[in-house]
Symmetry: C2
Subunit: 200 residues, 2 copies
């Protein structure tokens, strides 16, 4: 089980158009969430931003919750795909790439959804499930890219802590551009993690 759909979508010109519309809506939804937050993000606002009719938007996503959870999942999957194709030279490159997952519009959008879900009952179970799924997938990729052996005691927690640190660095970057500090922290922790993981 992962964030990838398990069967290929139907193909043909009509399906292609429908898929393009869907993708435009999903991308617009993430951008909207990242820029104006949950309170200002509605299906209508996203439809207008995507240049799609409100009716077409509601055909694809009957509810606001459907649209925004699908949007965060879609972009998370795009990012995972890019990470899977990474051929890193060393662990410090992997650590930097993992931390990059938590900066930029996807993280901002996911954070808005996450915080909104903490006090909205109809959103909470869906976002909780989505985050657990994306989290597992990210952990699996991190283990593989770092060449970490999880049968060794402490290795699993070292990788988890690294992803928690990446999430915390993303949060610190929300209000101020934190890049210079982040790079120094990443360089130091890449060394500590490398020492803790031993030979991959």
């Amino acid at each position: 089980m992962g964030v990838v759909t398990s069967s290929p979508p139907p193909s043909g010109p009509k399906q292609d158009r429908s898929r393009v519309t869907r993708q435009r809506l999903l991308q617009a939804a993430v951008d909207c969430l990242a820029e104006v937050g949950w309170a200002g993000s509605t299906v209508s606002v996203v439809a207008e931003r995507a240049g799609v009719s409100r009716g077409a938007a509601q055909h694809h996503f009957p509810t606001r919750e459907d649209l925004f959870t699908a949007a965060v999942e879609y972009v998370a999957e795009e990012r995972s795909g890019a990470l899977r194709e990474l051929a890193p030279r060393d662990r410090s490159e992997v650590v930097a790439a993992l931390v990059d997952l938590y900066t930029g519009p996807l993280f901002r959008a996911a954070l808005q959804l996450w915080v909104a879900a903490s006090d909205e009952e109809q959103l909470r179970p869906r976002v909780t499930e989505l985050e657990a799924r994306v989290g597992r997938e990210t952990h699996r990729m991190a283990v593989r890219l770092l060449g970490a052996d999880e049968s060794v005691p402490g290795v699993r927690e070292t990788v988890q802590g690294l992803l928690d640190m990446a999430r915390g660095l993303g949060l610190a970057n929300l209000l101020t551009d934190d890049e210079a500090r982040r790079r120094r922290v990443v360089a130091q922790w890449a060394e500590l993690v490398d020492g803790a993981l031993g030979h991959g």
Copy 2:
């Protein structure tokens, strides 16, 4: 400069009453922010929760931004005070206490304010300044409690990364009770930090 006010407040029965009202408003504001989020947190809602008239609340805090930034600062200072009085037996106790700063209502409230500030222009500079101040104070306390020598290369970044990890763990705890996992991660990272810092 720290989060502590630099001069003692005036004293006397009237000032005492005023201070009690102020503190009740601040505590109610943090609870409100943590429970219902920024969109539902207004001066009126907080005044009612605190059992204070709307006029009295506005006398203390003319704007919504005044009330909520003061509230997050007030509770952050309470928590810092508790941490300053900690007499830890070892570094793993310090790491656990630092991580505890990022779970519970204060972190939830601060996170709501932080995310709201990312897309509200009148809130953003104040929250940015507040977070920087609280962040510096937390870093200073962490250095002291861990017995870390920041003149050694890498030590500053080790401590910063630890606080970023603590923040990330707090975020992971927002939607699901994450305590069992968090404890294992904290135990492992306490060991990594202890090894990296050497003799304090």
